[in-house]
């Protein structure tokens, strides 16, 4: 839980600092991540592979809370937790133990959750650490703890209107790591950036698979101008984090503007209606009565174990970013964007294997492709584009068949349909049009590289042929010679009309002979 630090929390900022018109926003996040790499639940041997299964099929007496059952800890959870703590730079407790968090709720098989706490005899797994969210900002981590997931509730309609509640315990007992931040986040955008960075780290560690629905959820705590803190629960996507927080800021500002007070409460994010709804639970009445879990013994983490785990830790985004920059000569900023998603970074490396040019590739991935995915609100692995597609697209550009502008069009279709770029070019007859477009670029290049020849070409036919030849050379002969001819002459026309002098001997009609060889040198 993010403790209420009182007015003006965070890094010692004073209340009222900053523009008077903008109330200061303080956000803390509690992120719950399922350790999807583990095959069994945290305290019993039920399989964690429950997605898509019928309700209550991945259950046993232990995770159903049947009387007399006892928990036994999954050793994989400790190793995963060590990796996460190392990756976030947190201090791993030498000795840690589990605590009971007691509260009643229909999704709780025992009406207590086996979790961890930093009071009442409890010792969380790790404390401290931070996550860099780019823009030169670090969000500090308060603590990392291991706990079990509750079951899943299903309603007929909305939560408040449903005449009954349906409970599926398949998820109950799944291993979770909870990462609690300090209230260092200052905007919905920063919240999203934090989650993205965190997600990338966790993905790179291999402890969590972002493609699994609901594998990362978060609760947010937000207060404005040091006022009462509101907790928002049930946020399960990154877009929703931004939306929920934005909505809540607007709502709270509205209250304040009308001279009303913001009450301390818990609200539920309704992703269908895109609003937060009050759960009408009175804050003062909840009391978790934490105490150390008697059925589980303490865990000691040795330096040895930490070293072992560290030795086999996968590469982290921050390290990978440097490698991309050094090895492929990509600017750090671009590399940063690449590694902000493991899927994107992996995609990049696969394309490199297919001989794509690293810099061009990086720009296309972090620029156009990313923009497209954002527009379509999908992740890279939800789209139909594969490294093969991308490599081919870049190839077509290099060959001069596609101009940059045209390639963007083709990419749109690739992402949507999964067709190979060459096929799209054929089907839409883009070759000719595309050729004209892309030839323009080549022509510009050739002209700028051969200023003397251009000057000569304005007076002599021989130089014109030279320029045409250069264009053909630049496109490795794949350009249509007639079009190359036309393009060069058109360009010369432009230049001529711009300059004050004009040569009477300039002929602007294309060379009539159809048999003129394209490879005229």
């Amino acid at each position: 839980m993010v403790k209420d630090k009182g007015k003006g929390g965070g890094k010692g900022r004073k209340e009222g600092e900053g523009k008077e018109s903008e109330p200061k926003v303080i956000i803390g996040l509690e992120v719950h991540v399922q350790l999807t790499n583990l095959k069994t639940k945290l305290f019993c041997s039920c399989s964690t592979d429950y997605r898509g299964a019928e309700p209550n099929t991945h259950v046993c007496p232990i995770c159903m809370g049947e009387p007399g059952t006892l928990p036994v800890l999954n050793e994989g959870a400790i190793e995963d937790a060590i990796m996460v703590a190392l990756a976030l730079g947190s201090n791993i407790s030498k000795r840690t133990l589990f605590s009971r968090k007691n509260y009643f709720y229909p999704d709780m098989p025992k009406n207590f959750q086996i979790s961890q706490y930093d009071g009442a005899g409890g010792i969380p797994f790790a404390t401290g650490g931070s996550v860099s969210i780019g823009v030169g900002k670090e969000v500090r981590i308060r603590r990392i703890q291991i706990e079990e997931d509750p079951g899943r509730l299903v309603y007929e309609g909305t939560i408040d209107a449903s005449p009954f509640t349906l409970v599926d315990y398949n998820r109950a007992g799944l291993p979770l790591i909870e990462i609690v931040t300090e209230p260092d986040i200052e905007s919905p955008k920063e919240a999203r950036m934090f989650l993205q960075s965190l997600r990338s780290i966790l993905e790179h560690l291999g402890v969590f698979d972002e493609s699994l629905q609901g594998a990362m959820r978060c609760d947010a705590n937000i207060s404005i101008r040091g006022g009462k803190r509101v907790e928002i629960k049930n946020i399960s996507s990154f877009k929703d984090v931004e939306r929920a927080l934005s909505f809540e800021i607007t709502r709270q500002k509205g209250l304040l503007a009308r001279g009303l007070k913001v009450g301390m409460e818990t609200r539920h994010w309704d992703d269908l209606r895109r609003i937060t709804v009050s759960l009408r639970i009175k804050e003062e009445e909840q009391d978790y009565r934490y105490f150390p879990e008697p059925d589980l013994v303490p865990i000691t983490i040795s330096e040895d174990l930490i070293a072992k785990v560290k030795a086999r830790m996968p590469i982290l985004p921050s390290e990978r970013k440097k490698i991309f920059a050094d090895k492929y000569g990509i600017p750090l900023q671009t590399a940063e964007v690449l590694v902000s998603s493991k899927a994107m970074a992996d995609f990049f490396e696969e394309c490199i294997k297919l001989k794509a040019d690293p810099l061009t590739l990086a720009n296309w991935l972090t620029g156009d492709l990313k923009a497209l995915l954002n527009e379509m609100e999908i992740e890279i692995w939800e789209s139909k584009v594969t490294p093969a597609h991308m490599a081919e697209l870049l190839s077509l550009m290099k060959e001069g068949i596609l101009s940059g502008k045209m390639a963007k069009e083709v990419l749109k279709e690739v992402v949507a349909t999964g067709k190979m770029p060459r096929k799209i070019v054929e089907e839409r007859g883009l070759r000719t049009i595309a050729s004209m477009e892309s030839l323009k670029e080549v022509v510009e290049r050739v002209f700028s590289e051969n200023p003397e020849a251009v000057r000569d070409a304005l007076r002599q036919e021989k130089a014109v042929h030279f320029l045409i030849g250069q264009v053909m050379k630049a496109t490795k002969g794949s350009a249509d010679p007639l079009i190359a001819n036309e393009a060069v002459r058109k360009k010369l026309e432009e230049i001529a009309s711009l300059s004050s002098s004009s040569s009477p001997s300039l002929s602007l009609s294309p060379s009539p002979s159809p048999s003129s060889s394209p490879s005229r040198t």
Binding site: C46, P55, D287, P294, T300
Partner: protein, 115 residues
């Protein structure tokens, strides 16, 4: 789930009255505890409990006499640590567990409404 309570002595209406060696539990306190424990109590029961609980608590407060300065608590009486289980799935016949569920609906456990 809502926040934990702030630490420190609770000050509800009735419990502020000090008994001979500590705060007494009043009706409101009993009601609040009954809510936390989700046990509905009748008015008669609330009164009876308040009386009995105070008597028992009085006796419990005997432990205040002991000097426990510098003593570590014994949460676990065995000096055992690091007991684990291998991450290997072992399915259990779910029908056996579900047989005890009083109300079901389409494979789900049916619970009363949330509101």
């Amino acid at each position: 789930m809502p926040k934990e309570r702030k630490k420190g002595r609770r000050e509800s209406k009735d419990s502020a009255k000090e008994g001979s060696s500590g705060p007494r539990i009043g009706r409101e306190e009993v009601k609040h505890l009954a809510w936390l424990a989700r046990i509905k109590l009748s008015n008669k029961e609330i009164d009876a409990f308040a009386q009995q609980l105070n008597q028992i608590l009085e006796y419990f407060r005997k432990i205040d006499e002991v000097d426990t300065e510098g003593i570590e608590p014994t949460y676990h009486v065995l000096d055992l640590t690091n007991v684990f289980r291998k991450d290997e799935p072992r399915p259990f016949p779910a029908e056996d567990v579900l047989r005890n569920v009083p109300e079901k609906r389409g494979g789900y456990v049916k619970a009363p409404r949330m509101g």
